[in-house]
Symmetry: D2
């Protein structure tokens, strides 16, 4: 850690900061420059807030020079992590396709969805069982019954299942039916949930919050991993900006940035990333071209009558088209799909 | 609801949209213009996603003309809501001061904090008992013991207590010790938590998420109110923008905007809103000048040694100074403090 | 245009709005609903600010239903615009590559750059002659001499030239040497400049401002086109968000959004879009996969010693690699490069 | 400047960076830590891009430790700058009121505006003569005639004049009629304009760009000052965020942040900051409470018929009301108005 003192900071101020650093457990090296004194702190703790030092009298700025995450960093596992779910390998050469409706609505619907996904060559079916919506007056999901229907539809076709866990109380139920537990964008910093997921032996798909930086996403992954569960994949699903022609602004650069910073697989969700079905196909191509290891996409046999998220849900023909085009992109960059 | 058809939309497309609206329960009025056909839908449902209509073939755009929230709207209670907590009235003429440390650390610390708050004329003490932090390696709070210490310190001085509830499982415990239950920014759209808080008979302080619009904040308030708990106060604590000289950008305009849109009391949190203690005082003045009904502020007897959020926590003398200046502002705009 | 009156708006208020609309030149249709009265205005003017109506007493909201741009809209030329610059077609089947250094520094440097671009198969060389920098203490460009050097280097290899025009006084000079005139992000709403460019008979590359919406970008294109110059191409180069791991957040969805809204060619600039050279290659692939008609990229024979923008400038080997990969992506989506 | 090498950076990489720094003119101090080597560079140049060093092999991060602006920094003139315009002192104890219509429309209108401003106790009249609008089809201003009308109206009542200069060619004309030259948000980084304004002997009001950081605003002020014109005042007028209930999000914290970082006077523009007249009054109070030295506000005798910006323009009675309330706030914080 580096503390830069202000030009003209007094000796007493510098001493005070040194004492504070020593109290915090740092060994301090002092380097007196022409204009600025710089204090370098080496120590056992990585978890401190540079802002807390910057308000001390005489301090100009403070920089943390060790990443606040370790287990999630690329350094920790330079070769990259491959997560196996049945026969599916996530983070390997193949682009993995996870698709399905926003919510499980009934048996017919989820069976049709599974059929669409399987016949287009997808590997994982998605579907929400609990849908706490932003309006209190909406469809709230089928609960366990929905999970049962999705599991059956998946098993018939050899698909894996991913579904979202809304809070820590749902972990046991979701673990029973779902192969991958999804953490939604709103829960990215629900640390109670993350801590419990660290104890689970199921892969986690962790979505980036709509106002979360990439560093914060990695810190949330670290939270899970520090509990012992190293099978975390990260998902970019759009951040909030001033642009309104899409629901969110999909940060496609998060693919190469994450690939550089972490060894964990990276998934892209162009459905939530755009909010409009007509943009899902080009953004799926873009995400794969930028280095995504997989896609999470919403598809429904009749999206205009879907009970939730219809605007961003693909029709079956659009989905098949997307699969073909994504395959062509994957092959152009030396990957499979 | 108004659906504007595209220029040149076919009759079949228009018919299709009309049928869809009728299916959804709307009575439809059609108005054919020179360039655009406009469909007006009147109906029992207010909870639909205009985006879902905008992806239908031939539709140009769709506008919801009824607010998606009702109980929270100013229209519902034009005179404004005053929430009583013991002798304190929130939303009335007086500016209410809620202050205390980020976390309860030990008995001595919380007693000193209570003393600082009470002697400066504050009415409510704040303090966190559960601190799930963005790093898994940090101080996590004292739990129930912290609540007991804070309750005692408050009771000795006639203060009310506010503390944060992290998830629905903590509601019974928090309700036992705290007069006001705080919902943090990260939980603003934790709908399971909001639903349970609708059943509680304790006032709720609901913080705006860092990427939440004002409309979304009101919809979350509606969520709680629709469960029967009408005692909700709203808290602006900064949103995330590109500016980095402050931790967040405090949306001071949220004060007059909320005062216009809702009857609920509005509280400002300049500590989280700025992230730096030197800016808390001017932003507290600004918030009150803009119409805030109260302030939520962090204070500690020795913030440089606070276990969390030290950078944004006031020293005792700064707090006393703030109280005096806020009082002067309150009086300048015809309010008390 | 649609004006929705508030629930409970008085007859006098409604009359007042109708009179105002009539004064503005609208023919007004009134539709009285159960809760809301809606006024539809048809008229010759498309250029008014809905916000100005929303502050009138009794008005709930106002929606413009005609796009504020016409010449730039896809509707105006559904087949798309192809701009010819010498033998190069921009907006056609081929992905066009424009590349070169941030600034022209000297003859040797621009000759090398032209050689790199030409031998890798690029069609257009870029290079700045005027570099007004954010610090007053920096290299400010070679001016006309730089343009001469770049023109010579281009002519020797059959490349076209693109260079930035900083204000209207520079148009004659730039027009003498450059085939395409570039408008930088900071000038996207310099309406004096845009107006003059409408009178020029040179293609314009118009960059999106870092805080500009896609609609505003199109309105700026309209500005130029309304002066008679229809050869405008649009360039996405990143917008400003809270994310700091890249200099800007490249809005890759702008490709399909623009392709839908306008007939004008769309170019992507992954150098400014990311600010870091290691992310230029994957983002170039992504932009083409999402539908870009061309790329604008910075390359230098020795970027670590470039006088400006070195961080985002490719080395020659990285540029050649990018060209090959972009070609593979182009071919995967049925385009050429 | 501090360069932190990556953990495990090779000796050759470190040597390479040292050589590069020496080439750039820095004297380098090397400090080898347990995990990281840190290079401290001291040198004559302050204008370099840390990003350019961060892409060098082996570099983890680079921090500039000297502010990129000097003349604008508080350090340069700790007591603060007071700018005199006739009898008006800007940056002193008094809160200065600058007000008037968005555009000068005709003699009657500007005379009435001047009357409103003067009789309410304002000191400066504002009004635009050149209005290049975001649509090419709008009212574009009266030009020099407008300036003449405004000057006459001002002189009759002893008001000073402020008006916007759109590009460097307009400087002579504007200087003839206007006491203060305003640089609009879109021109904050028009460096050609800023350079020319450095040669002028008129005070400048520099508006913050809608996506500009506070540091960038200060760097633009530095640009002007480095040319010899030290009379610069800074104006916060709202930044662009995802919130849509106001046209911009007014960054009220910019007041105390600027007061800490610079000695230049700080003005707030709640008209552009909110875009809606009903929010101008509370935001004017907030800005003054937060430390603004003055306000820039739009007022018109009949804003519903104003030719531009009517939505955010105050009616005369609202303006008078605002003046009284601002005076009360000013007096509450020990200032005059």
């Amino acid at each position: 850690m580096l503390v830069v003192m202000q030009e003209g900071a007094s000796e007493a101020q510098t001493e005070n900061v040194i004492n504070l650093l020593v109290e915090m457990g740092f060994t301090v090296h002092r380097s007196t420059g022409v204009r600025h004194t710089v204090l370098g702190g080496v120590g056992p703790i990585d978890d401190f807030d540079p802002a807390a030092l910057e308000v001390i009298e005489g301090v100009k700025e403070c920089h943390r020079i060790v990443s606040p995450y370790k287990l999630a960093s690329r350094h920790f596992k330079p070769g990259g992590t491959v997560i196996k779910v049945g026969n599916v390998e996530i983070g390997g050469r193949q682009i993995v396709l996870m698709a399905g409706p926003c919510s499980v609505e009934n048996e017919d619907q989820i069976e049709r969805a599974a059929e669409i996904v399987a016949s287009a060559g997808g590997q994982v079916i998605r579907g929400g069982a609990f849908k706490p919506r932003s309006s209190p007056y909406s469809f709230q999901g089928l609960g366990e019954h929905g999970l049962q229907l999705m599991r059956k539809a998946a098993d018939r076709r050899g698909l894996a299942v991913i579904s979202e866990v809304m809070d820590q109380t749902q972990i046991p139920l979701l673990s029973q039916y779902s192969d991958i537990l999804q953490v939604g964008a709103r829960n990215m910093q629900n640390f109670n949930l993350l801590r419990e997921l660290g104890k689970v032996r199921k892969p986690i798909l962790l979505k980036r919050g709509i106002a979360a930086t990439i560093e914060e996403l990695l810190l949330s992954a670290e939270y899970i991993m520090s509990g012992g569960n190293y099978e975390v994949m990260l998902c970019e699903r759009g951040i909030r900006t001033f642009e309104t022609s899409t629901r969110n602004t999909m940060d496609i650069a998060a693919m190469p940035v994450l690939k550089r910073l972490t060894h964990l697989p990276v998934i892209a969700d162009p459905s939530h990333g755009t909010g409009k079905r007509e943009y899902v196909l080009p953004m799926a191509r873009a995400a794969v071209a930028a280095g995504a290891d997989g896609l999470l996409v919403e598809v429904h046999h009749d999206p205009d009558h879907a009970l939730s998220d219809g605007a961003q849900t693909l029709r079956p023909d659009q989905f098949t088209d997307m699969m073909q085009q994504v395959r062509a992109i994957a092959s152009a960059i030396g990957r499979a799909s």
